[in-house]
Amino acid sequence: MARVYFPDHLASLTEGVRELEAHVSSFRDLLEWLEGRYPGISDKLIGKVAVAIDGDIIHDPFLDPIEPGSEVHFLYRIEGG
């Protein structure tokens, strides 16, 4: 079971939910699961956010594994100079 955290700007897409638990084994699975639960969230997420899985920030995640006990945080996409 992974714990998934949403910042405020995405919580509007998750009916105000900022934290939930998900039985998934990859980010792809998580997206599918979220899309089934909160229609439209997938399109909104992809390309606009970064994700941290167990502390590692990932741009454009998809196939990345999610382990039982993992923490997944959706983040604002970070630019750099």
């Binding site: 955290y5 910042p7 405020d8 700007h9 509007s12 390309g47 606009k48 941290a52 899985i53 167990d54 502390g55 590692d56 920030i57 990932i58 741009h59 454009d60 995640p61 990345d64 923490e71 945080h73 959706f74 983040l75 604002y76 996409r77 970070i78 630019e79 750099g80 100079g81």
Partner: protein
């Protein structure tokens, strides 16, 4: 993934392969390229900060001697609203296209409204003067307070704030609002024994790269364009130029030139699509270079900001609550670095209760661009200054206050995830022990401390390694070399392959010759592209083991690779001599063909970087001038691939941060015209302004990188603003909460303080 090991090449201070050409003038930068038949493009820019473009008459200009093409916004294809997702920064292609060439409105002084290509620069400039533009002037918005007022004129009509819980009913100049929170901030402030709050402001500043934007572009009759450009990311130049001109990506080839600095400012495009369109219209190659004045007026500076910070603490220094209200100027189009600024502001500290609100605000100034750790210097200047004020009120050493609350491995970052291995505490402890922290100070001298943070980035990178027939090594990668990355890549390839650094050469390849690679930015290249180079080298080693096994007639899994040679594994009964890389390469034709290793990846796990700076200053009370006496930069870089270039990054970031703190600012007239668009009046520090910057590298390995690397290029600019401001307060006893601490501002603050003191004495 980080492996404990002894390194042979990593950590050596080798000579950078591009260094001699750069210091002797042989290196070719953006403006150095030429083609037969080349002509020159120049841009007509708006004289108004905010105006409706009623009409543009180019007929006379088009007939002038030497003029071969004239274009305006009407000549560019319409670009629909679409988020830019391929690169690093926030943005929208419609805005990007409109920034390259204005359509119906000029949104800042210097906004491009037309362009000419002619056989000489003088002819092009004469033609610009003949273009007649009829404007309807509008009121410009030049600061955050005015732009955020309820009755403000709109920079973008029809812009509704995003990020609010309810869809707004009224348009606004606030493009985006974001919020980060944890716990109960009000309860946290009630728990506190002491609460401090203050407002800080920073001005618009420029990256100050020495080389202006420059490109040479040509497009053939088949519609295929080639662009030589000074850029941090030629793949982004390709995609953005294609989008702005309605071309297929495959019809744009971008060749990166040597680059004379970027610091985030060359992660976007300005003149490249204009040059391609002028080339298409004229049938000639077109060179375009921006003047220094144009760079200031029309490229992307860093946001001016207003930051309100509030901190509550117990008497022992434990933080109980923090709040931040952060407004960032975006310039004329949405997309400032507000979000990373908000994510960084409290990142170094453990606090159970916080609330961070950020605002991305449109004003009639150039669209901001990334500048080294974009967004972090401004918000962290405010937080680190207020922490200094808090430490003074608590009677605590400022390093001890930070140590009391410092994040460490496993702590939940304010921006969300838990930190893996980080070195903030190690930096603080090193600062506390540093001899520079103990040097006695004299009259009117003060010492300031501040911390810095940056996430660092991974993202997509590719690399190829070719083993040449003599065993030398060619690395091909797609990141322009800004901070010595050729040397870093060569060191990593040499380390993996077990060959001397001198036998490795690195080529920065164009968009058709290297695999897709994200921009040189986010402190990602040594980490992510370096990881690709390591993987490509391991690909080569795997092939070499197979070739050796085939040569020896044994299985490949019976072969090891050590010290640049294939050797039989211990216990393997084979009477063979080790095969060097050169020997395997020489025999490659007989064992399967050329040795070519490759890797492409989307790197995850860029370890965050923390820093601590110590600044000593002396303030001249008669003039208000602040001199930096000593400056000490301490930073965790995971593992320094080339310590000399890491120290250079730390020193360069310190120099830019000191400039931001003491002198740099865009000075605007009431009409929105920048009045100091040149290096004589926009004062960046020069060598004589600065002491030698002392550096101390801390190495807490990043567990997500084979060698422990974490990015190091951006963190160094974050802490100097507050370190210098805190030192200036320590020297004078006067807290100035607006940058820069230029002589007039400091003198006025000292006079005010003296006046107040005299008033109190008299009263």
């Amino acid at each position: 993934m980080s492996e404990a090991r002894d390194f042979r090449s990593i950590g050596q201070r080798v000579i950078r392969p591009d260094g001699v050409d750069k210091v002797t003038g042989r290196a070719a930068f953006g403006a150095d390229y030429a083609l037969p038949g080349m002509i020159y493009g120049r841009v007509l820019r708006s004289p108004h900060a905010h105006a409706r473009i009623v009409s543009i008459d180019t007929k006379k200009a088009a007939r002038m001697p030497g003029v071969l093409a004239v274009v305006t916004g009407a000549d560019f294809p319409s670009v629909g609203s679409e988020e830019i997702t391929g690169g690093e920064g926030a943005g929208n292609y419609k805005d990007l296209a409109t920034n390259v060439m204005a359509r119906d409105k000029a949104l800042y002084h210097g906004h491009a409204v037309a362009a000419v290509a002619a056989t000489s620069v003088a002819e092009a400039e004469a033609a610009l003067a003949a273009i007649k533009v009829k404007y309807e002037k509008l009121k410009p918005l030049l600061d955050l307070d005015a732009a955020m007022a309820d009755d403000a004129v709109l920079v973008e009509e029809g812009l509704f704030t995003s990020g609010l819980p309810e869809k707004p009913t009224k348009p606004s100049n606030v493009a985006t609002v974001m919020e980060l929170k944890r716990g109960d901030v009000e309860a946290g402030f009630r728990e506190a024994d002491i609460v401090v709050e203050a407002t800080y402001r920073t001005p618009t500043v420029h990256q100050g790269y020495i080389e202006p934007h420059a490109c040479l572009a040509t497009i053939n009759q088949g519609g295929q364009a080639t662009i030589w450009a000074s850029t941090q990311g030629h793949f982004d130049v390709r995609s953005s130029t294609a989008k702005v001109l309605g071309l297929n990506v495959s019809d744009v080839r971008v060749i990166p030139t040597e680059i004379g600095g970027g610091f985030g400012g060359k992660t976007t495009i300005y003149v490249e699509p204009v040059a391609v369109l002028l080339s298409k219209r004229s049938g000639r190659p077109v060179k375009m270079t921006m003047s220094r004045e144009e760079v200031f007026r029309a490229s992307g500076p860093a946001s001016a900001t207003k930051c309100v910070i509030k901190i509550g603490a117990r008497k022992d220094g434990t933080l109980t609550a923090m709040s931040a209200w952060l407004a960032y100027e975006a310039g004329a189009f949405r997309g400032s670095s507000m979000a990373p600024g908000a994510m960084c502001v409290f990142a170094p500290y453990k606090v159970d209760n916080f609330l961070i609100r950020g605002f991305d605000v449109l004003v009639n100034k150039p669209k901001v661009a990334a500048y080294r750790a974009p967004g972090a210097p401004q918000s962290m200047y405010a937080c680190e200054s207020l922490l200094d004020e808090l430490a003074a009120k608590l009677g605590m050493d400022p390093i001890d206050l930070r140590l009391k609350n410092a994040v460490e491995e496993g702590a939940q970052a304010a921006y969300g995830p838990k930190f893996n291995a980080i070195g903030f505490r190690e930096c603080l402890e090193a600062a506390k022990r540093h001899p520079n922290y103990k040097i006695p100070l004299g009259q009117d001298e003060g010492r300031g401390v501040a911390a810095g943070f940056w996430f660092n980035a991974g993202m997509q990178s590719s690399a190829e390694i070719h083993i040449n027939e003599d065993g030398t090594v060619t690395v091909i990668e797609g990141n322009p070399d800004i901070g010595g990355s050729r040397a870093s890549m060569a060191l990593m390839a040499a380390e993996e392959l077990g060959v001397p650094y001198e036998r490795v050469r690195v080529q920065i390849a164009d968009t058709e010759s290297a695999g897709y690679t994200n921009t040189t930015g986010g402190s990602r290249v040594t980490f992510a592209t370096g990881m690709a180079v390591i993987q490509a080298a391991r690909d080569i080693i795997g092939q070499c083991k197979q070739r050796a096994a085939a040569t020896w007639g044994i299985d490949a899994d019976m072969v090891d690779w050590a010290d640049g040679k294939a050797i039989p594994k211990p216990g393997v009964n084979a009477d063979v001599k080790p095969l060097t890389l050169a020997a395997i390469a020489a025999n490659a034709g007989r064992t399967g063909g050329p040795l070519l290793g490759r890797a492409s990846l989307n790197a995850r796990g860029a370890g965050p970087g923390f820093s601590v700076n110590i600044a000593d200053v002396r303030v001249d009370r008669d003039t208000g001038k602040v001199d930096v006496l000593r400056f000490t930069a301490i930073q965790d870089v995971g593992k320094a691939i080339h310590p000399g270039y890491v120290e250079g990054q730390m020193q360069g970031g310190a120099a830019q941060g000191i400039g931001w703190a003491l002198n740099e600012e865009y000075v605007y007239s009431k009409d929105g015209v920048m009045e100091n668009a040149g290096f004589l009046d926009y004062r960046i520090p020069v060598a004589s302004d600065l002491p030698m910057i002392d550096t101390q590298i801390i190495e807490v390995p990043n567990p997500s990188h084979p060698y422990g690397v974490r990015g190091c290029g951006e963190t160094p600019i974050v802490a100097p603003l507050a370190a210098v401001a805190n030192a200036t307060h320590a020297a004078t006893g006067v807290r100035i909460r607006e940058l820069p601490l230029s002589p007039p501002r400091v003198l006025a603050a000292l006079d005010n303080a003296a006046g107040s003191a005299a008033g109190k004495a008299a009263g």
